[in-house]
Symmetry: C2
Subunit: 322 residues, 2 copies
């Protein structure tokens, strides 16, 4: 199980290999939103998303034998790049199972990190079953995107940094909005804040119609999405909350926020204009909630979880100014 | 005169008000370039460029009386925002003289910081004379964009941070490419590195046909550009090297690099893709040189000096992928 000790141990392994990302803010953005917004810019992370943390945490926790056999991961792209980066740095062979409709940039970058990429059809194939079969045939260790204690621990290091950075900024209480797919990042951050900044409350942010976590937090049981395609927020379209992540969030998280694809694009546009960072749609939903939700306190931290976006999709965000 | 003591004093005044920007890198960018590239991301600075440093340094160095009367600056936009931001925080009235063809976003943002904006025609009016006239009439202190010892001192704090950050990264020798208009940033950084990282050499980067500094460094005298319009790199189209900045660079800088507008756009595109930061053309020429010049050492630091760019211009950079 992931606890604060596992997160702090992961932070020590990550040090020097994964970036301590800045906590950004902009006076003009605050004015627009009518509240103070801090953005934890994980898009500036080594592989363009927080997933480098979980990948490094998991690969660095393997035994030398397991590392030598190699790892496998299934991912819409960001977890893929995180694991591929960590595996290459540890000299571990790496197979990545990616949906064939993932952004081209994510597929290309995953290959560039040295991983072997296997494509599958997200609508018709079961990635878990396919991944398990590949892992078994080659004795690879499967690194799941969120339901893995070491992955959650790695993502939780974002929370350790937020706790330090808000203290430097003089913030004592706030909602911390986190882009949420399976809940690895949200649950890890929640565990860190519980200990190091207990007056900061995690809230998940999800795309409309893919709000399994928000609904699950209300019902108290793991709800499923009707589909895992149909939003531009490709990075966070997961079938349901994780088995390990949901109990953590059920205990620690506030109500989930839900945003439309249009709001995600607007958040990308405002991040471009006022923070000069590049966000992908799924990495912008927390900022979208911070900007546009109406049930928020005066100070909000939004975790901008990733920035691996095709130029065509980014152009859609720029069209918000037209 | 600016010296290391003035820069270190500025650093103390800036602390807590101006951001210590990250030094970014990306394995895939290094592979493309065939060398190791670190990017000092001043586009993530509070006002979207390093100019917040010089603005804060100059305004905070004024006497209480001078502050109360107010300040004036002339600028294509980034210096404007830097001074406006600093003036507002110090409660000083602020008039900004901007070319009427400056990017709309820069004009809008300067107004949003609370400054009074006066527009002039860059092709037909002499901004120095106009600025001096306005300053005199209202007893405002003119804060020049580069030929001011406190402004150079503020920009020089970028060099203090680079010296610390490259040491953390284990870099001992490198060329430091700096986007160059009048030379305020380049000369400040050169003074800091001379003391704190003497094996790092500053080199200016300029747009083709606006390479007054590169030519001046060769001839040993301050050369002029034929025009101050005609490149997309609006932020760094100045008539000639500064009176204060040129002697510093003449003593400390290596040969100047010159890049085309197309290369600047390509650098913006690659920064979007691999670093997930937003650069403006004039803020990307150092990175363009780092990526495409052929007379560079194995390790290069590029100062990405600003990210205040209109969506239309950014779309031109994204077209590089088409």
């Amino acid at each position: 199980m992931t606890d604060i000790a596992l997160i702090e141990a992961a932070a020590r392994r990550l040090s020097g290999h994964v970036r301590r990302t800045p906590l950004l803010n902009a006076p003009l953005l605050d004015r627009l939103a009518g509240r103070r917004i801090f953005v934890k810019a994980e898009c500036l992370q080594v592989t363009g998303s927080f997933k480098a943390r979980g990948g490094w945490s998991a690969v660095s926790a393997l035994s030398p034998d397991a590392r030598a056999r190699g790892v496998i991961a299934y991912s819409s792209g960001n977890h893929a790049q995180g694991v591929a980066y960590a595996a290459a740095a540890h000299g571990a062979p790496c197979v990545i199972l990616m949906p064939s409709n993932a952004p081209a940039v994510k597929i290309a970058n995953t290959r560039a990190y040295g991983a072997e990429v296997v494509l599958y059809d997200r609508a018709t194939e079961d990635r878990d079953a396919l991944g398990a079969r590949l892992a078994e045939g080659r004795e690879l260790t499967l690194i799941k995107p969120y339901d893995d204690p070491q992955v959650i621990a790695g993502q939780g290091t974002v929370g350790l940094e937020i706790a330090e950075q808000v203290a430097e900024a003089g913030v004592t209480a706030a909602d911390v909005l986190v882009c949420c797919g399976g809940g690895g990042l949200s649950s890890g951050v929640a565990l860190s804040l519980e200990v190091h900044a207990p007056r900061l409350r995690v809230r998940t942010a999800e795309p409309q119609d893919f709000d399994d976590m928000a609904r699950s937090l209300i019902s108290g049981t793991r709800e499923r999405n009707a589909s895992t395609t149909g939003s531009i927020c490709d990075a966070i379209l997961t079938p349901s909350p994780g088995e390990l992540t949901f109990p953590i969030l059920s205990r620690l998280a506030g109500p989930g926020a839900v945003v439309t694809d249009d709001r995600a694009l607007q958040a990308m546009a405002l991040a471009f204009m006022h923070l000069r960072i590049v966000l992908e749609p799924g990495g912008a939903v927390a900022l979208a909630a911070a900007l546009f939700a109406d049930d928020l306190p005066d100070t909000v931290i939004a975790v901008a979880s990733g920035g691996n976006v095709d130029p065509e999709t980014f152009a859609l965000a720029l069209d918000c100014f037209a």
